[in-house]
Symmetry: C2
Subunit: 353 residues, 2 copies
DNA sequence: CTGTTAGCGCATTCAG
DNA sequence: CTGAATGCGCTAACAG
């Protein structure tokens, strides 16, 4: 007799997930659940024969460890939370790859959320991640540190990538924005340009501020004033950058060079110039020299003379993750946050013909 | 007297995480843990006054629900597993955004792993995700279905994006590869080209096979033979595509048109042509007509006459996620997998001057 | 409306 | 070397 739900007895108490548990394996192997657990954890202090019996039972039952239950006991979820302002941006996609790479090497998985540059959404994501017991967090932060309080975070370490937050003293990895922007600007000035436009995104964005700072710094160093009417910030996407660049081109006295503070703005500038050339003819458009922060695909085929400040987003992700794991593994214990600035390189592309 | 670990009494049993639990909140609010739980779940069947008391206690203790413990009880992890062949590819980054968007709308989070086109790694990721009790899986599959057996998957629904797997009857979202490739090829043939090159990635990759199929189909329809020596597959990145294209350009009888089966190959072709023009002079290079599958940034500024088959990766992600949630929510119950083919559009770009 | 009991699946005690 | 008891934090199921 092996009847279960067939007759009208007890409701045949359906076990939670229906998937086999340590108990099922233990029964089949004729051992205690504890022995199964030991085998699962490497099989130390288990006689080879028992071990083998258990291993066979595991295969036969199709058992798989429930990580959730484990982490409830162990206080180790094996999860890292990652929030990114825009996952679809190739730059951050590459960064995510770097994070994932390091996390996988440490046997952790990443929970990824898109904050969409929205602080409230970011706070919600962080809260949710913490509720899932992530062991640490990596953020491309949206802005201030009002959320991200110690009470909220508990003792979960946190690392910031690409942007810092004033007043939040945690491990942070940045690009050398100031250095890169000033080096680029210096070069333009040294080439003889005195009317250089600046196209950037919102100044509320950390990197935007820093790159503008580098731009001004170079001018100060060379004793050449910044032409304020040529400083245009707030363009978050290619099309708005294109519009602004078109305006600049139609000024009575247009810039002779342009610094694009990120690849969105640089590409917008290329578009505006090339579009005007195609409509008004090449002669109608002043000869513009372009320097952009961030490299991008096909930069070397730009129809406008271009140089870029290039850097490695994947390395950015790797670094942030590495610093996080150093804390998780206790390899780094200082309370104060570390600040790493990744170096940049200047690349110059030739023009066709 | 409030001494704890100070004297040599009991080891002051440190509670698991040190973070407050329902019990802590219950004590402070002078209610049972169950009432706390009810308040946390929306507060139905709880007197407003109690509810308020509990809510205050929650704030005071800084309590946050432990999702892990919840899902152990509920059998609902609130997690979706996603494996992608290469997260750094802008195309899949955009797709991931679509998935995340839909998942967030369903109050789920995504666990993301990079399979790196490696079936073994993919299998490992899937196993790990299932161990974490994901409610469902979305994959850009690497290849066959040898892993992904029903035993492994249990009853977790699975959706495939971008590629199908022979013999795995699950919900699948594809791009209209065959239709797009044949439409593009047809147009080239109708423009009078009879020697059209095909640059694609490995034929073992699903989309690669399908796009080559469309290419051949169009030839068959028009009664024009495929020039087999011009069919080159296996290029997985831009630089190898560039190399192959250079070879084609140096054939005694080079192609008059090229179909790039994905954006890596199309960009490689552009590079090869432009590079040769720059080195050997524009006259030395035959006039080539280019048609590419996938759109990409700056495609409209291509120095080579270009058309593209464009489509929307974010929508691909949204669709896959939507189908998955339809199954999770029981809105769709047929066992057989559904197949959706997303439409493509043809775009033509003018040449400069 | 509220509380008590019990157990999700696992692993850390502690006895044998 | 092995097992029994216990509880991680939470919430169904059932009393009251």
């Amino acid at each position: 007799m092996d009847e279960r739900a067939s007759t009208g007895g007890k409701p045949a108490r359906v076990r939670g997930s229906g998937r086999p548990t340590v108990v099922d394996v233990a029964k089949k192997a004729q051992v205690s659940p504890m022995t199964v657990s030991r085998v699962l954890s490497g099989g130390i202090n288990v006689r080879p024969e028992m071990r083998e019996r258990v291993e066979r039972a595991i295969v036969e039952t199709g058992y798989r460890r429930n990580q959730n239950a484990r982490s409830l006991r162990n206080q180790q979820s094996g999860l890292i939370g990652v929030t990114i302002t825009n996952i679809a941006n190739p730059y951050y996609a590459e960064m995510q790859r770097g994070i994932e790479e390091v996390a996988a090497a440490h046997s952790r998985r990443i929970l990824v959320g898109n904050s969409n540059e929205d602080t409230a959404l970011e706070a919600q994501l962080v809260g949710d991640f913490l509720g899932r017991q992530v062991e640490g967090l990596i953020l491309v932060p949206t802005g201030n540190a009002e959320h991200l309080t110690p009470e909220l975070l508990g003792d979960a370490p946190i690392a910031l990538a690409s942007r810092a937050i004033d007043g939040l003293d945690v491990d942070t990895v940045l690009i050398d924005d100031v250095g890169g922007a000033s080096a680029a600007t210096r070069q333009l000035l040294d080439e003889g340009h005195t009317r250089i436009a600046f196209l950037g995104n919102q100044v509320s964005v950390f990197t935007g501020r820093r790159r503008l700072k580098g731009f001004r710094q170079a001018h100060a160093e060379r004793g050449i004033p910044v032409v304020e009417e040529l400083v245009r910030v707030g363009q978050q996407d290619v099309s708005s950058a294109e519009t602004v660049m078109s305006e600049l081109l139609q000024l009575p006295e247009p810039p002779t060079a342009v610094f694009g503070a990120n690849n969105r703005n640089t590409i917008g500038a290329i578009r505006a110039i090339e579009r005007m050339r195609r409509s008004a003819g090449p002669e109608a458009v002043p000869d513009i020299r372009l320097f952009g922060f961030d490299s991008f695909e096909l930069a070397d085929l730009s129809p406008v003379r271009l140089s870029v400040v290039s850097h490695d987003p994947r390395e950015l992700g790797r670094q942030a993750a590495t610093m996080l794991f150093e804390r998780l593994d206790g390899d780094y214990v200082e309370a104060a946050g570390r600040l790493v600035e990744l170096p940049v390189e200047l690349h110059h592309y030739d023009l066709p013909r």
